[in-house]
Symmetry: C2
Subunit: 389 residues, 2 copies
């Protein structure tokens, strides 16, 4: 027989609109009438999609008329004749604020956790560790990925997200590039697809062939670290970059395989915050920034903040750099970290990287299921929602 749910509960009391549960350790938890009715009945599978009830049927003046603690749980009576069985510990757990996501900001000196593709069997403990590393640092390194295995690596993350670039985009130097990644230019660290409502999520940058000479070094910067530096050093700049909505635009007429012309537009702040004021994502790519709609004084504040942010992104303070070898893949959270590269000699080099992306929510879903197996109790821990705000 399982332990009675009332163990450790000292007393219950009610008003017409709430239930108080006093625990033996002195904690008192207060549940609201509607909230209790909607969330806590023991006899309804609240998680079931097949639950057909709706709050539409509740009377506006619903009242609690009494509560009683028996040997098993708390019974709550309402004035419409319903009596619910409530688990006091579940109530307490649900009313306890969630912890912050376990994201650890990093700067220069950071080395991402490295994984061997041969050991990344689906559902293995290494698979779990890879997804934890991505959630924590927004960046991991995988070695031993064969040229044709980009999608196999992506399958460990979730379903590939097809875009107007196709499922996997081959970044190769082209004499007539239609996107800067096909040039030999240096690229400042940026996030991809800021002009999409939901930009690329967890992305894979997989090296098939490196640049022959010097240059073409990959650069990764943790946007979370840059944002937290700014919050500390220049709170006004931080506030501006979390509130001014920046339009990002991408208009392209050159033909791309599997797509046509595009004219994508999205508006979002550079730094996205979650409901608790924590940094949940970054959206930053100067090349696709449109004209911000602010008056001249606000423009001064916005640009001074943006300049400070852009200088930090380009500095050595935050950057992790690596010449990727064939078979190496960086797996990174495109809604938190920025990626770039140094310029290289295009003419004499056939640098070839493959790019592929998976929606972040699907990756987080996989992580929660793997936590159920390998890190029980942490599966409901919060994960950052990204730059969708």
């Amino acid at each position: 027989m399982s332990q009675p749910r009332r163990v450790g509960v000292r007393a219950v009391a009610t008003t017409r609109t709430s239930l108080d549960v006093e625990f033996a350790d002195g904690v008192v938890v207060r549940g609201n009438r509607f909230w209790l009715r909607d969330n806590c009945p023991l006899d309804v599978d609240r998680a079931s999609l097949f639950r057909g009830t709706s709050v539409a049927s509740l009377p506006d003046d619903l009242a609690i008329v009494g509560a009683e603690l028996d040997d098993e749980c708390v019974h709550v009576w309402y004035d419409d004749g319903v009596c619910d069985r409530v688990d006091p510990w579940e109530l307490r757990a649900r009313l306890t604020p969630m912890a912050a996501p376990g994201c650890v900001p990093w700067s220069a000196g950071f080395e991402p956790t490295c994984f061997d593709a041969a050991r990344l069997a689906p559902e293995s403990i290494e698979h779990h560790a890879l997804l934890e590393a991505i959630a924590r640092s927004a960046c991991a390194l995988v070695t031993g990925v064969a040229a044709h295995e980009t999608e196999a690596l992506a399958a460990l993350l979730g379903p590939v997200r097809e875009t107007d670039f196709g499922r996997v985009f081959d970044i190769v130097h082209e004499p007539q590039p239609f996107t800067p990644s096909q040039s030999a230019d240096a690229l400042d660290p940026h996030t991809d697809d800021p002009y999409r409502y939901s930009p690329a999520g967890i992305s894979i940058l997989h090296c098939v062939e490196p640049s022959a000479g010097t240059g073409g070094e990959s650069i990764i910067v943790d946007g979370l670290a840059v944002a937290e530096m700014l919050r500390e050093a220049d709170p006004e700049a931080f506030e501006v970059l979390t509130s001014v909505r920046v339009p990002f635009v991408h208009r392209r007429s050159e033909p791309v395989e599997r797509a046509g012309d595009v004219h994508l537009r999205a508006e979002a702040p550079i730094i996205a915050l979650d409901g608790s004021g924590r940094v949940s994502g970054i959206r930053f790519h100067e090349r696709s920034m449109g004209a911000v709609a602010v008056d001249t004084d606000e423009a001064d504040r916005f640009y001074l903040a943006l300049m400070r942010f852009a200088r930090a992104v380009r500095s050595d303070t935050f950057a992790w750099r690596r010449y990727l070898a064939p078979g190496e893949a960086i797996v990174y959270d495109n809604q938190r970290v920025l990626h770039g590269r140094s310029g290289f000699e295009g003419a004499q080099t056939r640098r070839h990287l493959r790019l592929c992306t998976v929606d972040r929510d699907q990756v987080h879903s996989r992580l929660r299921r793997l936590r159920e197996r390998y890190a029980t109790g942490t599966e409901a821990d919060p994960l950052p929602a990204g730059n969708l705000s």
Copy 2:
């Protein structure tokens, strides 16, 4: 020779931080030093992704030292030696606030625009009209769609978005349903995938085989209309539903083709607003709502607002209803309208609908390109960003 850009400009004046342009019609437009430098030079292709400049290189104390109107345009001098050529009319256009998106809310009595699949050739004027109808009303009807043509119809919208349900999901009555759509139950109007960071976008509900007896009627409700009713009738309820972040959860262990177990979670308000306080999207599905983290007083306000919203969604005031015939497809914006159905007799019926979805930004991109051809001048008109907030 093109018309000089200075026509209709009366005078220019500067301070160290701004440029004023006075037009012949009396309008004065003020541009900020950084904003001008970043957005308005005539000699740089601002829209080009290949522009390599960064605001990181601008000095914090950049100053305008003078401006002059010549026969052609405005010349602006800065104290770092740079002189930009600025188009005064472009400056004026960029500093004029954008119009509101042309979304028209609707309620009972609405009939969606109907399109014949045979006439929907790619890039045709009918193709343009279909996308305009979706942007305006978030709902259109297409007839004559053969059973195998679901993806062909989707291709008019953009690349199919593959999810854990696959590319196209067949909604057929199953004796052991793993999702309520496979049951014969009535489904209250809801938006799909509220537990995803970026829920399904423009979706297609394509009827292959209708229910044999009574029931199985499709119901569509305009969430924008419900939200605007609430804003008018109960501003406090509207405010609560735009600010309280609701967790949506989906945990499923039953196997689905091409996917595994999922545990998806996302948190968002029921009503999403854009930067100007306009309703940009709706996220509402009671079956997948988790426990809201609010104190007991706020819970009262939240639930009273939610109950009012849920009652409106279920009422006859807002609903458009239709028994879909074979070959009919509803194309709807899942981030604005809610869809549901009446219950039907499962045992004696092989009701078969196909469901497929495309990201909203890709659909809006197509619409902008078609506007360039069929509705010149409107291609930059704003489109609603959806429920991603």
